[in-house]
């Protein structure tokens, strides 16, 4: 659970008021979009959540940690309850996909046999088992972000904080990434995603907190107030993308959203794609 009560943040060196009287409560298992223009206070909000900054006034409590009074040596333990995904992926270029994910476990002292079990599971979850030995520069933007997502999940974080995770990828990949976050959220993980992409917000239709000039402009339970069209793809394969094909399974929810509620058409497309995958799989065998 994340709770901000009357939080204000003033950067004293520049006398900038970044947030004022911020009150939010995010329950465990929620999916929340945070939107707002540049300079609205999103970065400050993330810094406060990460305990990189302390509030000038008000209290913050996240996952049972009182961030106002947390001891310095406890901060790393608090951060292990969070998984962070950045816009620029932040993968280590000279490490392959497997090692990038394993790195997050290694640097907190996980045992090698635990790493050997968990990393392939996570790579399977994001559909990248076949790319385990690839270097980041051999992957597309979407794939790199999926690696970053796997890394964020490596230490069993119960909250994912995604800072504009789709900022550097095309719409199709963006859709895949948020869909992945949606799946992770469905398993009970809290997801907080900062984004500028209102089409995505509209498409996935979760709680939306809008920040403007350091204050909460609105906090709505869904995206009905946002006046943009959700993403639609002409071709379901385009929408489903490499993730689905790699998994080789059916993902009706996924297709349903792209077909704007036309379940039958989506199901038909899913069957068609699954058949193609099965045939390809049989050929390979």
């Amino acid at each position: 659970m994340i709770k901000f009560e009357g939080v204000s943040k003033v950067y004293e060196d520049t006398n900038t008021k970044a947030l004022s009287d911020f009150n939010i409560e995010i329950e465990t298992g929620e999916f929340v979009f945070i939107v707002g223009s540049s300079g609205a206070g999103k970065s400050t909000l993330l810094k406060l959540m990460m305990r990189e900054e302390v509030p000038s006034s008000g209290t913050i409590s996240i996952n049972g940690f009182d961030l106002n009074n947390i001891k310095k040596k406890k901060i790393p333990h608090f951060r292990r309850t969070l998984g962070i995904v950045f816009q620029d992926f932040r993968l280590i270029p000279n490490m392959n996909v497997y090692d990038n994910v394993a790195y997050a476990m290694r640097v907190i002292g996980a045992r090698e046999n635990a790493i050997r079990k968990r990393v392939p599971y996570l790579l399977g979850l994001v559909g990248l088992n076949s790319k385990a030995r690839s270097k980041p520069n051999q992957l597309s933007g979407g794939e790199q972000q999926r690696v970053a997502l796997a890394r964020a999940l490596a230490n069993n974080a119960n909250t994912i904080i995604a800072d504009e995770p789709t900022g550097n990828v095309d719409p199709q990949m963006s859709f895949e990434i948020v869909d992945l976050l949606n799946h992770i959220n469905a398993d009970g993980t809290t997801v907080i995603m900062v984004t500028h992409d209102l089409h995505l917000v509209k498409t996935f239709n979760h709680r939306v907190i809008t920040i403007k000039n350091g204050v909460i402009e609105s906090d709505c339970p869904d995206a009905s107030h946002i006046d943009v069209e959700p993403y639609k793809f002409e071709n379901p394969e385009e929408a489903v993308g490499s993730y689905f094909l790699e998994e080789g399974g059916e993902d009706l929810d996924y297709l349903v959203q792209n077909y704007a509620g036309d379940v039958e058409a989506a199901a038909a497309e899913a069957d068609a794609i699954a058949d193609v995958v099965d045939v390809e799989g049989a050929d390979e065998e």
Partner: protein
């Protein structure tokens, strides 16, 4: 820290040296240069002090004994002299021995001493002093002893030698200290660059909840390893440089009546000093630079 983590982070330290090999090489070059200069300063100091030791060994106080002193009193005096703190050695010089030396010193003019015998000279003790800076106090102490007729000493030479030794010591310590801090500064800055190059890894480590000790450990390992590598390389270079320098240094030393201090006599001391300085500068440089970086720059949200 768990054993498995320690071994992983130590391996990371080794790996980082290879991954950042250009900067590792730059650190080693700086460290080796500083160590060789420090080593050269130390070897010059050793040679100068060996010459000073040689000259000092020849600087003695002649303590002449009263004629009326009997054998027992002379033995007591010998015991008192030997028991003094700053006395290295006491040798008895009989009047006969002194007379013979005198005759030998006169050479062709020894006939001037004809008709005289050894009784014109007193018995004496030849006292070698340990520390020339304490020379005057030692002489004053000897003067207070019983049965001392007269003292012959060269306090001026003693004073000069003591001041030369002090000056050489201060200059060498000063040069080594300055070089030590210069090398620490350069190495700390070189390591800062490697840290800056790896800000991505540090920000990821912080983001996933690595403790500060986990973040520091690979850098400390790296600093220690670079220190050890540099010490080994510097020892080899120092040996070569010293052997070449010995060729012309031996001429100067023989003119002063001494020989060049052999490198092998001090090889382990020099190696120990190099390893200590290398490891200290390497690890300390890493810790200082990393602490400064973590304090000033490392930011999980904005670092990229």
């Amino acid at each position: 820290m768990k054993g498995a983590s320690l071994s992983y982070l130590t391996r990371e330290g080794f790996r980082n040296i290879w991954v950042n090999r250009l900067l590792s090489l730059a650190t080693i070059v700086v460290l080796v240069s500083c160590l060789v200069i420090v080593g050269s300063g130390s070897l010059i100091f050793l040679n100068i002090t060996s010459v000073l030791d040689l000259i000092e060994d020849q600087n003695v106080v002649m303590v002449y004994i009263k004629d009326e002193a009997d054998k027992a009193q002379m033995d007591i005096l010998n015991g008192q002299l030997s028991g003094m703190e700053n006395v290295e050695k006491v040798e008895f010089v009989s009047r006969e021995e002194a007379f013979e030396r005198q005759k030998a010193a006169y050479g062709d003019k020894a006939n001037l001493l004809e008709g005289l015998d050894a009784n014109i000279l007193p018995n004496a003790y030849k006292v070698t002093v340990k520390d020339l800076s304490q020379f005057d106090a030692t002489v004053a102490g000897i003067k207070t002893l019983d049965n001392v007729l007269h003292i012959h000493e060269n306090s001026e030479l003693a004073g000069k030698l003591a001041s030369i030794r002090n000056a050489v010591s201060y200059v060498c310590i000063g040069v080594v200290a300055v070089l030590f801090f210069v090398s620490m500064f350069i190495v700390a800055n070189t390591i800062r660059i490697t840290i800056f190059n790896r800000r991505l890894e540090i920000s990821i480590m912080k983001a996933v909840g690595a403790t500060n000790m986990f973040i520091r450990w690979p850098f400390i390992v790296e600093g220690v390893l670079l220190g050890v590598f540099s010490a080994v390389i510097a020892l080899g270079i120092q040996y070569g440089v010293y052997e070449v320098a010995s060729i012309w240094l031996s001429d100067i030393m023989s003119m002063l009546g001494g020989t060049v201090v052999p490198f092998v006599d001090y090889i382990w001391i020099i190696f120990g000093m190099f390893v200590f300085i290398g490891v200290f500068i390497g690890s300390f440089g890493s810790i200082v630079s990393l602490n400064k970086y973590l304090k000033e720059h490392s930011n999980v949200v904005e670092n990229s």
